[in-house]
């Protein structure tokens, strides 16, 4: 397989930021009370991740290794702020919906960890695909979690009513977020165990 496509796939399933790497769990639990919220945050993360990865990949040789973390934080904050300033001018309606999420992104562990682990060592093109893959994987995780929680918590999916009321109110409360993500994570691990025969090792959570 082409390496770039492999990087995309890698971020989506084998190293999914939420279910496999267990990074940026706070926003994943907090925001996924509906599919729409998950989708909006996911889109915002894709933008920031791709732009930050590309920036760091281009300038990686100029960033002194001792100060790489503060430099990455500045890069992320820069892109978040730029999006926060440009988006309301380009599309005020979209901005109204994603405004809250965009401002949350500065502190996401997934973005800085991809900069540290990937973009700071690889050239521009693979970094772009890694960033895109990770962003898509994050979006996928948020949408799946959001769909399950919204359906069981409120009986709706994407705002459309399917059941009259939610059968399990706990699902849209924070505890429900932990349950859903925990079960999906377990499912991922079980599938990996079935395929490889090895018990998966865990990642770190933030």
């Amino acid at each position: 397989m082409n390496r770039n496509i492999q990087l995309l796939w890698n971020g989506l399933i084998p190293e999914n930021p939420i279910f496999r790497l267990a990074l940026s769990m706070c926003p994943a639990v907090a925001v996924t009370t509906s599919v729409e919220n998950g989708l909006m945050l996911g889109l915002a993360v894709i933008f920031v991740q791709v732009f930050s990865s590309c920036t760091v990949a281009i300038f990686r040789s100029y960033i002194h290794p001792r100060i790489r973390i503060p430099a990455y934080v500045i890069v992320i904050a820069l892109w978040v702020t730029v999006i926060d300033m440009i988006l309301p001018v380009i599309s005020p309606d979209v901005y109204k919906k994603v405004e809250l999420f965009v401002k949350l992104i500065v502190v996401f562990a997934i973005i800085i960890s991809r900069l540290e682990l990937f973009a700071s060592r690889e050239p521009l093109v693979p970094s772009f695909f890694d960033g895109l893959g990770m962003g898509l994987g994050f979006l996928f995780g948020l949408v799946v979690t959001g769909a399950i929680r919204e359906f069981f918590g409120t009986g709706r999916i994407f705002g459309f009513e399917i059941l009259d009321s939610g059968p399990l109110l706990i699902m849209i409360l924070p505890a429900g977020g932990f349950f859903v993500i925990g079960f999906i994570m377990a499912a991922f691990n079980w599938i990996e165990y079935k395929i490889t025969g090895k018990i998966p090792t865990s990642g770190g959570a933030h």
Binding site: V31, T33, R66, I67, L100, K103, L169, L173, P174
Partner: protein, 302 residues
């Protein structure tokens, strides 16, 4: 030693580059962003008064601004002041002291365009006041007239939310019954506190009279299903409720307290306190302002 200079230089370069980019983007977008915000602001006021894309505002609808200022006089004493539009398109700056007694009145020689922009407005007012006076802008109240009749008021307010301030606007009819609530700025958590913006929550305030507002609290009971449907226009349409039925259900629940959002009691309480406080303060201030207008026999435009 050499190392540390390299590190410092590198970090400085990153920061300078970032700030240059930010400065450039800000300079390019700030003007447009403010224009869009101002447009959105006007639309919010119109929609609170019941006009929007579907129902065009009639041509005799007039919305007057009344800006409230805190004035520090040269001798250090503090008074309040209102910038009032007069009938003959002039403006006046009327001081009212903290006990509600009307004070000095200054004529402001400027036209509407100058007084619409905050920076030029402040300068125009200061030029009319004695030297050494300091003014601080507090808020803008909106008075809406339909022809010669008072349509209502739109009052901005703010309240401490879950993380930061919630800015809101309340529209009132001439008897100070709430006709609408809009949230203009908030950073409540999406999916939890952010639900205060939803129709089924904020419409609970509409129809509440001043008397009801004074003893309004938040209760943790679940929102009754039929009330929820009546509060949300889209839901009411889906359930085929006629406007008559919607009105009946709303009237039934008129004396209810505010039903808190599930998982967001703090935000629910914050908005309730904000609305009640905003209305109470406004009614108190308007009373004093009307008294002052009468005493000084000002011919205000509204």
């Amino acid at each position: 030693m050499k190392e540390i200079i390299k590190i410092a230089a590198s970090l400085t370069a990153v920061c300078v580059a970032a700030s240059l980019i930010l400065g450039f983007v800000y300079a390019k977008t700030d003007h447009m962003k403010r224009e869009i915000e101002e447009k959105g602001h006007q639309e919010t006021i119109q929609s609170l008064l019941g006009y929007g894309p579907e129902k065009k505002a009639p041509s005799d609808l007039k919305i007057y601004h009344v800006e409230r200022y805190v004035v520090t006089k040269p001798d250090g004493s503090v008074v309040l002041a209102y910038l009032l539009p007069l009938k003959d398109h002039r403006y006046t700056f009327a001081e009212i002291d903290l006990n509600g007694k009307p004070g000095e009145i200054y004529e402001i020689k400027a036209d509407a365009a100058v007084l619409n922009e905050k920076a030029t407005r402040d300068a125009a007012i200061l030029s009319a006041l004695p030297k050494g006076t300091k003014i601080t802008y507090a808020q803008t109240l909106y008075v809406a007239d339909l022809g010669d009749k008072r349509l209502g008021y739109v009052v901005p307010g703010s309240t401490q939310g879950f993380k930061t301030f919630i800015k809101l606007m309340v529209s009132l009819d001439p008897q100070f019954t709430v006709t609408g609530v809009a949230i203009t700025y908030s950073e409540e958590d999406p999916g939890l506190g952010d639900e205060i913006k939803k129709d089924f929550f904020k419409n609970q305030f509409t129809g509440k009279t001043l008397e009801l507002l004074k003893k309004l609290t938040v209760i943790k009971d679940p929102l009754p299903a039929e009330y929820a449907a009546a509060l949300d226009p889209e839901k009411a349409k889906k359930k085929n409720l006629t406007p008559q039925q919607v009105k009946e259900i709303k009237d039934q629940h008129l004396n209810d307290n505010i039903y808190a959002l599930t998982g967001a009691t703090i935000s629910s309480k914050a908005l309730t306190v904000g609305v009640v406080d905003t209305v109470k303060k406004f009614v108190y201030r308007l009373d004093i302002l009307n008294g002052a207008i009468k005493e000084k026999s000002l011919s205000v435009a509204f």
